[in-house]
Protein backbone atom coordinates (compact mmCIF):
# COMPACT_ATOMS: atom_id res chain seq x y z
CA UNK A 1 0.00 0.00 0.00
CA UNK A 2 1.16 3.49 -0.73
CA UNK A 3 1.06 6.09 2.02
CA UNK A 4 -1.88 7.98 0.54
CA UNK A 5 -4.16 9.29 3.28
CA UNK A 6 -7.34 7.22 3.16
CA UNK A 7 -9.65 10.23 3.21
CA UNK A 8 -8.26 12.62 0.67
CA UNK A 9 -11.15 14.42 -0.98
CA UNK A 10 -10.82 14.52 -4.73
CA UNK A 11 -14.37 14.26 -6.02
CA UNK A 12 -14.17 14.83 -9.80
CA UNK A 13 -17.81 15.90 -10.13
CA UNK A 14 -17.97 18.58 -7.45
CA UNK A 15 -19.39 21.67 -9.07
CA UNK A 16 -17.56 24.08 -6.81
CA UNK A 17 -13.82 24.20 -7.27
CA UNK A 18 -11.72 22.88 -4.45
CA UNK A 19 -12.54 20.05 -2.09
CA UNK A 20 -15.39 19.96 0.39
CA UNK A 21 -16.97 23.37 0.32
CA UNK A 22 -15.38 25.78 -2.13
CA UNK A 23 -15.22 29.53 -1.99
CA UNK A 24 -17.06 31.06 -4.93
CA UNK A 25 -19.33 34.00 -4.11
CA UNK A 26 -22.40 31.89 -4.96
CA UNK A 27 -21.17 28.98 -2.90
CA UNK A 28 -23.71 26.31 -2.15
CA UNK A 29 -22.78 23.02 -0.52
CA UNK A 30 -22.61 19.92 -2.68
CA UNK A 31 -25.53 18.28 -0.89
CA UNK A 32 -27.71 21.29 -1.71
CA UNK A 33 -26.85 20.89 -5.37
CA UNK A 34 -27.70 17.19 -5.19
CA UNK A 35 -30.94 18.07 -3.42
CA UNK A 36 -31.82 20.48 -6.25
CA UNK A 37 -31.11 17.77 -8.83
CA UNK A 38 -33.30 15.24 -7.02
CA UNK A 39 -36.05 17.86 -6.66
CA UNK A 40 -35.89 18.47 -10.41
CA UNK A 41 -36.45 14.78 -11.05
CA UNK A 42 -39.41 14.81 -8.66
CA UNK A 43 -40.87 17.88 -10.33
CA UNK A 44 -40.37 16.56 -13.87
CA UNK A 45 -42.12 13.33 -12.94
CA UNK A 46 -39.10 11.09 -13.52
CA UNK A 47 -40.22 9.47 -10.25
CA UNK A 48 -43.95 9.73 -9.64
CA UNK A 49 -45.85 10.05 -6.34
CA UNK A 50 -45.90 6.74 -4.50
CA UNK A 51 -42.96 5.33 -6.49
CA UNK A 52 -39.59 4.19 -5.24
CA UNK A 53 -36.67 6.45 -6.09
CA UNK A 54 -33.20 5.00 -6.78
CA UNK A 55 -31.25 3.84 -3.74
CA UNK A 56 -28.74 6.10 -2.06
CA UNK A 57 -25.89 4.04 -3.50
CA UNK A 58 -27.30 4.35 -7.03
CA UNK A 59 -27.80 8.11 -6.66
CA UNK A 60 -24.28 8.47 -5.27
CA UNK A 61 -22.95 6.70 -8.36
CA UNK A 62 -25.10 8.73 -10.70
CA UNK A 63 -24.03 12.06 -9.22
CA UNK A 64 -20.45 10.97 -8.46
CA UNK A 65 -20.62 11.91 -4.80
CA UNK A 66 -20.46 9.88 -1.61
CA UNK A 67 -23.48 8.15 -0.15
CA UNK A 68 -23.25 10.49 2.84
CA UNK A 69 -23.81 13.51 0.63
CA UNK A 70 -26.85 11.91 -0.99
CA UNK A 71 -28.14 11.03 2.49
CA UNK A 72 -27.90 14.62 3.62
CA UNK A 73 -29.81 15.80 0.53
CA UNK A 74 -32.53 13.18 1.05
CA UNK A 75 -32.68 13.99 4.78
CA UNK A 76 -33.83 17.49 3.91
CA UNK A 77 -36.29 16.32 1.28
CA UNK A 78 -37.77 13.92 3.84
CA UNK A 79 -38.01 16.73 6.43
CA UNK A 80 -39.95 18.75 3.82
CA UNK A 81 -42.27 15.80 3.21
CA UNK A 82 -41.29 15.50 -0.44
CA UNK A 83 -40.11 11.91 0.04
CA UNK A 84 -40.58 9.25 2.70
CA UNK A 85 -37.86 6.88 3.84
CA UNK A 86 -38.69 3.31 4.81
CA UNK A 87 -35.84 1.35 6.32
CA UNK A 88 -35.12 -1.85 4.45
CA UNK A 89 -37.40 -0.89 1.54
CA UNK A 90 -36.14 2.37 0.11
CA UNK A 91 -37.16 6.00 -0.36
CA UNK A 92 -40.58 6.76 -1.84
CA UNK A 93 -42.01 9.88 -3.45
CA UNK A 94 -44.66 11.28 -1.09
CA UNK A 95 -48.26 11.21 -2.22
CA UNK A 96 -51.53 12.71 -1.01
CA UNK A 97 -53.11 9.25 -1.49
CA UNK A 98 -52.31 8.05 2.01
CA UNK A 99 -54.04 8.26 5.35
CA UNK A 100 -50.90 9.88 6.70
CA UNK A 101 -51.10 12.82 4.29
CA UNK A 102 -54.80 13.55 4.76
CA UNK A 103 -54.40 15.59 7.91
CA UNK A 104 -51.31 17.47 6.89
CA UNK A 105 -53.40 20.34 5.53
CA UNK A 106 -56.73 19.68 7.26
CA UNK A 107 -56.22 20.87 10.82
CA UNK A 108 -59.85 20.80 11.91
CA UNK A 109 -60.15 18.05 14.53
CA UNK A 110 -63.17 16.68 16.34
CA UNK A 111 -63.34 17.64 20.03
CA UNK A 112 -64.19 14.00 20.78
CA UNK A 113 -63.33 10.82 18.94
CA UNK A 114 -60.95 9.91 16.15
CA UNK A 115 -60.21 12.30 13.27
CA UNK A 116 -61.71 11.20 9.98
CA UNK A 117 -62.13 12.67 6.55
CA UNK A 118 -65.33 14.59 5.76
CA UNK A 119 -67.76 13.98 2.88
CA UNK A 120 -68.00 16.70 0.20
CA UNK A 121 -71.03 18.17 -1.50
CA UNK A 122 -70.24 20.44 -4.42
CA UNK A 123 -72.36 23.57 -4.70
CA UNK A 124 -70.74 25.14 -7.72
CA UNK A 125 -67.91 24.52 -10.18
CA UNK A 126 -67.30 27.05 -12.92
CA UNK A 127 -64.70 28.60 -15.16
CA UNK A 128 -64.44 32.32 -14.68
CA UNK A 129 -61.98 35.23 -14.58
CA UNK A 130 -59.76 36.05 -11.63
CA UNK A 131 -60.85 38.99 -9.48
CA UNK A 132 -57.99 41.32 -8.55
CA UNK A 133 -57.47 39.92 -5.04
CA UNK A 134 -57.44 36.31 -6.23
CA UNK A 135 -55.08 37.16 -9.09
CA UNK A 136 -52.67 38.82 -6.70
CA UNK A 137 -52.52 35.84 -4.34
CA UNK A 138 -52.14 33.31 -7.18
CA UNK A 139 -49.58 35.40 -9.03
CA UNK A 140 -51.89 35.77 -12.04
CA UNK A 141 -53.13 38.78 -13.97
CA UNK A 142 -56.50 40.19 -13.12
CA UNK A 143 -59.01 38.60 -15.51
CA UNK A 144 -56.95 35.47 -16.18
CA UNK A 145 -58.89 32.21 -16.47
CA UNK A 146 -59.53 30.50 -13.15
CA UNK A 147 -61.68 27.67 -11.91
CA UNK A 148 -63.98 28.39 -9.01
CA UNK A 149 -65.22 25.61 -6.75
CA UNK A 150 -67.62 25.89 -3.84
CA UNK A 151 -68.41 22.98 -1.59
CA UNK A 152 -69.74 22.00 1.81
CA UNK A 153 -68.02 19.34 3.87
CA UNK A 154 -69.74 17.29 6.55
CA UNK A 155 -68.54 15.10 9.37
CA UNK A 156 -70.97 12.29 10.16
CA UNK A 157 -73.64 14.14 8.22
CA UNK A 158 -73.13 17.44 10.07
CA UNK A 159 -72.22 20.30 7.71
CA UNK A 160 -69.08 21.86 9.19
CA UNK A 161 -67.01 23.49 6.43
CA UNK A 162 -67.92 25.82 3.56
CA UNK A 163 -65.06 26.28 1.15
CA UNK A 164 -64.41 28.37 -1.92
CA UNK A 165 -61.44 27.40 -4.07
CA UNK A 166 -59.76 29.37 -6.81
CA UNK A 167 -57.44 27.46 -9.15
CA UNK A 168 -55.37 28.71 -12.11
CA UNK A 169 -57.32 27.76 -15.25
CA UNK A 170 -54.19 26.76 -17.15
CA UNK A 171 -52.94 24.29 -14.58
CA UNK A 172 -56.32 22.72 -13.92
CA UNK A 173 -57.73 22.72 -17.45
CA UNK A 174 -60.44 20.07 -17.71
CA UNK A 175 -61.45 20.07 -14.04
CA UNK A 176 -65.21 19.56 -13.95
CA UNK A 177 -67.90 19.03 -11.34
CA UNK A 178 -68.25 15.42 -12.52
CA UNK A 179 -64.60 14.61 -11.96
CA UNK A 180 -64.69 16.22 -8.54
CA UNK A 181 -67.85 14.38 -7.56
CA UNK A 182 -66.77 10.94 -8.73
CA UNK A 183 -63.43 11.28 -6.96
CA UNK A 184 -63.27 9.87 -3.45
CA UNK A 185 -60.74 11.19 -0.96
CA UNK A 186 -58.85 14.44 -0.60
CA UNK A 187 -58.88 16.88 -3.50
CA UNK A 188 -55.09 17.16 -3.35
CA UNK A 189 -54.96 13.49 -4.36
CA UNK A 190 -57.01 14.27 -7.46
CA UNK A 191 -54.85 17.28 -8.30
CA UNK A 192 -51.76 15.13 -7.96
CA UNK A 193 -52.98 12.19 -10.07
CA UNK A 194 -55.03 13.94 -12.73
CA UNK A 195 -53.27 17.27 -13.09
CA UNK A 196 -49.71 16.42 -12.11
CA UNK A 197 -49.71 19.19 -9.53
CA UNK A 198 -48.55 18.31 -6.03
CA UNK A 199 -49.20 20.73 -3.17
CA UNK A 200 -46.13 20.78 -0.98
CA UNK A 201 -46.71 23.60 1.47
CA UNK A 202 -49.22 26.30 2.33
CA UNK A 203 -49.63 29.47 4.35
CA UNK A 204 -52.79 30.19 6.23
CA UNK A 205 -54.39 33.29 7.75
CA UNK A 206 -57.13 32.70 10.28
CA UNK A 207 -59.79 35.05 11.59
CA UNK A 208 -63.11 34.90 13.42
CA UNK A 209 -66.21 36.05 11.54
CA UNK A 210 -70.00 35.89 11.82
CA UNK A 211 -72.01 33.60 9.57
CA UNK A 212 -73.83 35.47 6.80
CA UNK A 213 -77.28 34.36 5.68
CA UNK A 214 -75.79 32.33 2.83
CA UNK A 215 -73.23 30.59 5.04
CA UNK A 216 -75.85 29.93 7.70
CA UNK A 217 -78.16 28.25 5.19
CA UNK A 218 -75.39 25.98 3.88
CA UNK A 219 -74.21 24.98 7.36
CA UNK A 220 -77.74 24.82 8.76
CA UNK A 221 -76.91 27.16 11.60
CA UNK A 222 -78.22 30.50 12.88
CA UNK A 223 -77.14 33.71 11.17
CA UNK A 224 -74.25 35.38 13.07
CA UNK A 225 -72.93 32.13 14.51
CA UNK A 226 -69.18 32.71 14.98
CA UNK A 227 -67.03 30.85 12.44
CA UNK A 228 -63.32 30.42 11.85
CA UNK A 229 -62.34 31.95 8.51
CA UNK A 230 -59.23 30.52 6.91
CA UNK A 231 -57.48 31.89 3.85
CA UNK A 232 -54.98 29.39 2.55
CA UNK A 233 -52.54 29.72 -0.33
CA UNK A 234 -50.98 26.43 -1.41
CA UNK A 235 -47.73 26.07 -3.28
CA UNK A 236 -46.21 23.45 -5.55
CA UNK A 237 -42.57 23.04 -6.61
CA UNK A 238 -40.65 26.25 -7.06
CA UNK A 239 -42.86 28.11 -4.58
CA UNK A 240 -45.50 28.51 -7.23
CA UNK A 241 -48.94 29.38 -5.80
CA UNK A 242 -51.54 27.04 -7.31
CA UNK A 243 -54.55 27.26 -5.05
CA UNK A 244 -56.40 29.84 -3.03
CA UNK A 245 -58.84 28.30 -0.58
CA UNK A 246 -61.17 30.29 1.63
CA UNK A 247 -62.86 28.19 4.23
CA UNK A 248 -65.40 28.79 6.99
CA UNK A 249 -65.28 26.30 9.83
CA UNK A 250 -67.98 25.67 12.38
CA UNK A 251 -66.20 25.13 15.69
CA UNK A 252 -69.05 23.87 17.85
CA UNK A 253 -67.79 20.29 17.93
CA UNK A 254 -64.44 20.77 16.18
CA UNK A 255 -61.36 22.90 16.71
CA UNK A 256 -58.37 23.97 14.69
CA UNK A 257 -55.37 22.12 16.05
CA UNK A 258 -51.86 23.51 15.98
CA UNK A 259 -48.51 22.48 17.40
CA UNK A 260 -46.04 25.24 18.33
CA UNK A 261 -42.42 24.11 18.36
Amino acid sequence: MSSNPPNSNNNPAAVNTGGAGGSSPTFSPLYQQIKALITQSLQSGEWKPGELIPSEVELANRFKVSQGTVRKAIDELAAENLVMRKQGKGTFVSTHHEARAHFRFLRLMPDEGVPHYPESKFIEVKRTRAPADVARLLDLKSGDAVIFVKRVQSFDGVPTIVEELWLPGLTFKGLTAERLEEYKGPMYGLFESEFGTRMIRATEKIRAVCATEGDAALLKIAVNTPLLASERVSFTYGDKAVELRRGLYLTERHHYHNELN
Copy 2:
Protein backbone atom coordinates in the same frame (compact mmCIF):
# COMPACT_ATOMS: atom_id res chain seq x y z
CA MET B 1 1.87 0.38 9.62
CA SER B 2 -0.18 -2.71 10.42
CA SER B 3 -3.00 -3.75 8.15
CA ASN B 4 -5.71 -2.69 10.60
CA PRO B 5 -8.71 -1.29 8.75
CA PRO B 6 -8.79 2.44 9.38
CA ASN B 7 -12.45 2.52 10.33
CA SER B 8 -12.97 -0.37 12.74
CA ASN B 9 -15.56 0.65 15.29
CA ASN B 10 -14.50 -0.14 18.81
CA ASN B 11 -15.95 2.66 20.90
CA PRO B 12 -15.35 1.69 24.55
CA ALA B 13 -18.16 3.89 25.89
CA ALA B 14 -21.01 2.73 23.68
CA VAL B 15 -23.84 1.74 25.97
CA ASN B 16 -25.27 -0.85 23.62
CA THR B 17 -23.20 -3.96 23.09
CA GLY B 18 -21.66 -4.44 19.68
CA GLY B 19 -20.51 -1.78 17.27
CA ALA B 20 -22.66 0.84 15.60
CA GLY B 21 -26.20 -0.01 16.46
CA GLY B 22 -26.64 -2.99 18.73
CA SER B 23 -29.55 -5.37 19.04
CA SER B 24 -31.04 -5.20 22.54
CA PRO B 25 -34.83 -5.03 22.70
CA THR B 26 -34.66 -1.47 24.03
CA PHE B 27 -32.15 -0.43 21.39
CA SER B 28 -31.64 3.27 20.98
CA PRO B 29 -28.95 4.76 18.78
CA LEU B 30 -25.87 6.21 20.44
CA TYR B 31 -26.67 9.72 19.23
CA GLN B 32 -30.06 9.53 20.94
CA GLN B 33 -28.34 8.62 24.19
CA ILE B 34 -25.95 11.56 23.76
CA LYS B 35 -28.92 13.79 22.98
CA ALA B 36 -30.59 12.68 26.21
CA LEU B 37 -27.41 13.43 28.18
CA ILE B 38 -27.11 16.90 26.67
CA THR B 39 -30.81 17.53 27.33
CA GLN B 40 -30.25 16.57 30.99
CA SER B 41 -27.49 19.17 31.25
CA LEU B 42 -29.80 21.77 29.71
CA GLN B 43 -32.62 20.87 32.06
CA SER B 44 -30.40 20.82 35.16
CA GLY B 45 -29.07 24.27 34.32
CA GLU B 46 -25.46 23.18 33.81
CA TRP B 47 -25.63 25.44 30.77
CA LYS B 48 -28.10 28.30 31.15
CA PRO B 49 -30.27 30.01 28.50
CA GLY B 50 -28.12 32.27 26.33
CA GLU B 51 -24.88 30.57 27.32
CA LEU B 52 -22.39 28.75 25.11
CA ILE B 53 -22.33 24.98 25.49
CA PRO B 54 -19.05 23.04 25.11
CA SER B 55 -17.80 22.59 21.56
CA GLU B 56 -18.58 19.44 19.60
CA VAL B 57 -15.01 18.26 20.02
CA GLU B 58 -15.15 18.74 23.80
CA LEU B 59 -18.48 16.93 24.05
CA ALA B 60 -17.15 14.12 21.88
CA ASN B 61 -14.21 13.73 24.30
CA ARG B 62 -16.46 13.90 27.33
CA PHE B 63 -18.84 11.23 26.05
CA LYS B 64 -16.16 9.18 24.32
CA VAL B 65 -17.90 9.21 20.96
CA SER B 66 -17.01 10.71 17.60
CA GLN B 67 -17.72 14.30 16.73
CA GLY B 68 -20.18 13.08 14.09
CA THR B 69 -22.31 11.42 16.74
CA VAL B 70 -22.36 14.59 18.85
CA ARG B 71 -23.27 16.56 15.73
CA LYS B 72 -26.25 14.36 15.03
CA ALA B 73 -27.47 14.77 18.63
CA ILE B 74 -27.07 18.56 18.47
CA ASP B 75 -28.72 18.65 15.03
CA GLU B 76 -31.90 17.33 16.59
CA LEU B 77 -31.69 19.66 19.57
CA ALA B 78 -31.30 22.58 17.18
CA ALA B 79 -34.29 21.40 15.13
CA GLU B 80 -36.33 21.39 18.36
CA ASN B 81 -35.15 24.93 19.15
CA LEU B 82 -33.44 23.87 22.39
CA VAL B 83 -30.08 25.17 21.16
CA MET B 84 -28.92 27.48 18.38
CA ARG B 85 -25.80 26.90 16.33
CA LYS B 86 -23.70 29.82 15.14
CA GLN B 87 -20.94 28.98 12.72
CA GLY B 88 -17.53 30.08 13.93
CA LYS B 89 -18.86 30.93 17.41
CA GLY B 90 -20.36 27.79 18.89
CA THR B 91 -23.67 26.36 20.05
CA PHE B 92 -25.83 28.40 22.43
CA VAL B 93 -28.68 27.45 24.73
CA SER B 94 -31.86 28.98 23.30
CA THR B 95 -33.55 31.72 25.26
CA HIS B 96 -36.87 33.56 25.11
CA HIS B 97 -34.90 36.81 25.53
CA GLU B 98 -34.38 37.36 21.81
CA ALA B 99 -36.36 39.02 19.07
CA ARG B 100 -36.18 35.73 17.19
CA ALA B 101 -38.01 33.82 19.94
CA HIS B 102 -40.79 36.34 20.50
CA PHE B 103 -42.96 35.20 17.64
CA ARG B 104 -42.45 31.49 18.09
CA PHE B 105 -45.55 31.24 20.28
CA LEU B 106 -47.32 34.48 19.37
CA ARG B 107 -48.87 33.82 15.99
CA LEU B 108 -51.12 36.86 15.81
CA MET B 109 -49.77 39.07 13.03
CA PRO B 110 -50.85 42.52 11.88
CA ASP B 111 -52.61 42.56 8.49
CA GLU B 112 -50.40 45.51 7.53
CA GLY B 113 -46.96 46.52 8.72
CA VAL B 114 -44.21 44.82 10.66
CA PRO B 115 -44.97 42.44 13.54
CA HIS B 116 -44.13 43.88 16.92
CA TYR B 117 -44.67 42.90 20.52
CA PRO B 118 -47.80 44.16 22.31
CA GLU B 119 -47.97 46.07 25.60
CA SER B 120 -49.58 44.29 28.56
CA LYS B 121 -52.02 45.57 31.15
CA PHE B 122 -52.66 43.23 34.03
CA ILE B 123 -56.24 42.97 35.22
CA GLU B 124 -55.83 40.37 37.92
CA VAL B 125 -53.13 38.21 39.50
CA LYS B 126 -54.10 35.84 42.29
CA ARG B 127 -53.28 32.58 43.99
CA THR B 128 -56.19 30.19 43.95
CA ARG B 129 -57.13 26.51 43.59
CA ALA B 130 -57.24 24.64 40.30
CA PRO B 131 -60.72 24.00 38.90
CA ALA B 132 -61.17 20.46 37.58
CA ASP B 133 -60.67 21.34 33.89
CA VAL B 134 -57.51 23.33 34.59
CA ALA B 135 -56.13 20.60 36.85
CA ARG B 136 -56.67 17.99 34.16
CA LEU B 137 -54.82 19.98 31.49
CA LEU B 138 -51.91 20.85 33.81
CA ASP B 139 -51.66 17.33 35.20
CA LEU B 140 -52.49 18.56 38.71
CA LYS B 141 -55.10 17.47 41.26
CA SER B 142 -58.33 19.39 41.45
CA GLY B 143 -57.87 22.03 44.16
CA ASP B 144 -54.07 22.20 43.91
CA ALA B 145 -52.54 25.65 44.27
CA VAL B 146 -52.38 27.60 41.01
CA ILE B 147 -51.67 31.17 40.00
CA PHE B 148 -54.25 32.90 37.87
CA VAL B 149 -53.32 35.85 35.68
CA LYS B 150 -55.61 37.93 33.52
CA ARG B 151 -54.32 40.61 31.19
CA VAL B 152 -55.14 42.66 28.12
CA GLN B 153 -52.57 43.18 25.37
CA SER B 154 -52.60 46.10 22.98
CA PHE B 155 -50.90 46.83 19.69
CA ASP B 156 -50.25 50.54 19.18
CA GLY B 157 -52.73 51.28 21.93
CA VAL B 158 -55.50 49.14 20.45
CA PRO B 159 -56.66 46.40 22.86
CA THR B 160 -56.48 43.15 20.87
CA ILE B 161 -55.93 40.20 23.20
CA VAL B 162 -57.57 39.16 26.48
CA GLU B 163 -55.72 36.31 28.12
CA GLU B 164 -56.24 34.15 31.19
CA LEU B 165 -53.26 32.13 32.39
CA TRP B 166 -53.18 29.26 34.84
CA LEU B 167 -49.79 28.30 36.28
CA PRO B 168 -48.87 25.54 38.76
CA GLY B 169 -48.42 27.25 42.14
CA LEU B 170 -45.41 25.13 43.06
CA THR B 171 -43.40 25.97 39.96
CA PHE B 172 -44.22 29.66 39.99
CA LYS B 173 -44.14 30.32 43.71
CA GLY B 174 -43.52 34.01 44.31
CA LEU B 175 -45.00 35.28 41.05
CA THR B 176 -46.74 38.57 41.82
CA ALA B 177 -48.49 41.33 39.93
CA GLU B 178 -45.54 43.62 40.70
CA ARG B 179 -42.97 41.32 39.13
CA LEU B 180 -45.17 40.87 36.09
CA GLU B 181 -45.73 44.59 35.70
CA GLU B 182 -42.13 45.65 36.10
CA TYR B 183 -40.95 43.04 33.63
CA LYS B 184 -40.63 44.22 30.05
CA GLY B 185 -40.89 41.74 27.18
CA PRO B 186 -42.47 38.33 26.77
CA MET B 187 -43.67 36.51 29.87
CA TYR B 188 -41.80 33.38 28.83
CA GLY B 189 -38.58 35.35 29.30
CA LEU B 190 -39.58 36.12 32.89
CA PHE B 191 -40.52 32.49 33.53
CA GLU B 192 -37.16 31.40 32.15
CA SER B 193 -35.02 33.87 34.12
CA GLU B 194 -36.89 34.09 37.41
CA PHE B 195 -38.43 30.65 37.75
CA GLY B 196 -36.00 28.46 35.81
CA THR B 197 -38.82 27.14 33.67
CA ARG B 198 -38.34 27.18 29.92
CA MET B 199 -41.32 26.61 27.62
CA ILE B 200 -40.18 24.43 24.77
CA ARG B 201 -43.35 23.50 22.92
CA ALA B 202 -47.09 23.98 23.07
CA THR B 203 -50.31 22.63 21.62
CA GLU B 204 -53.14 24.93 20.70
CA LYS B 205 -56.86 24.50 20.02
CA ILE B 206 -58.57 27.34 18.20
CA ARG B 207 -62.25 28.18 17.90
CA ALA B 208 -64.46 31.12 16.96
CA VAL B 209 -66.63 32.63 19.67
CA CYS B 210 -68.70 35.76 20.33
CA ALA B 211 -67.47 38.44 22.71
CA THR B 212 -69.26 38.38 26.05
CA GLU B 213 -70.06 41.63 27.84
CA GLY B 214 -66.92 41.32 29.94
CA ASP B 215 -64.66 40.64 26.96
CA ALA B 216 -66.28 43.44 24.98
CA ALA B 217 -65.64 45.95 27.76
CA LEU B 218 -61.97 44.99 28.04
CA LEU B 219 -61.38 45.09 24.27
CA LYS B 220 -63.59 48.15 23.79
CA ILE B 221 -65.68 46.42 21.15
CA ALA B 222 -69.37 45.60 20.68
CA VAL B 223 -70.86 42.60 22.46
CA ASN B 224 -71.01 39.57 20.13
CA THR B 225 -68.08 40.66 18.01
CA PRO B 226 -66.53 37.42 16.68
CA LEU B 227 -63.22 36.53 18.36
CA LEU B 228 -60.63 33.78 17.95
CA ALA B 229 -60.48 31.68 21.11
CA SER B 230 -57.21 29.88 21.68
CA GLU B 231 -56.54 27.31 24.37
CA ARG B 232 -52.84 26.67 24.68
CA VAL B 233 -51.01 24.19 26.88
CA SER B 234 -47.24 24.80 27.10
CA PHE B 235 -44.68 22.20 28.05
CA THR B 236 -41.20 22.31 29.51
CA TYR B 237 -38.57 19.56 29.56
CA GLY B 238 -39.88 16.05 29.93
CA ASP B 239 -43.21 16.98 28.33
CA LYS B 240 -44.36 18.50 31.59
CA ALA B 241 -47.35 20.86 31.18
CA VAL B 242 -46.59 24.13 33.00
CA GLU B 243 -49.03 26.66 31.59
CA LEU B 244 -52.60 26.82 30.44
CA ARG B 245 -53.37 29.97 28.51
CA ARG B 246 -56.80 30.88 27.22
CA GLY B 247 -56.74 33.81 24.86
CA LEU B 248 -59.32 35.80 22.93
CA TYR B 249 -58.00 37.56 19.85
CA LEU B 250 -59.65 40.39 18.01
CA THR B 251 -59.06 39.73 14.30
CA GLU B 252 -60.20 43.00 12.79
CA ARG B 253 -56.70 44.18 11.96
CA HIS B 254 -54.76 41.04 12.85
CA HIS B 255 -54.83 37.40 11.84
CA TYR B 256 -53.49 34.13 13.18
CA HIS B 257 -50.68 33.05 10.90
CA ASN B 258 -49.78 29.44 10.25
CA GLU B 259 -47.44 27.59 7.94
CA LEU B 260 -48.46 24.12 6.77
CA ASN B 261 -45.54 21.96 5.69
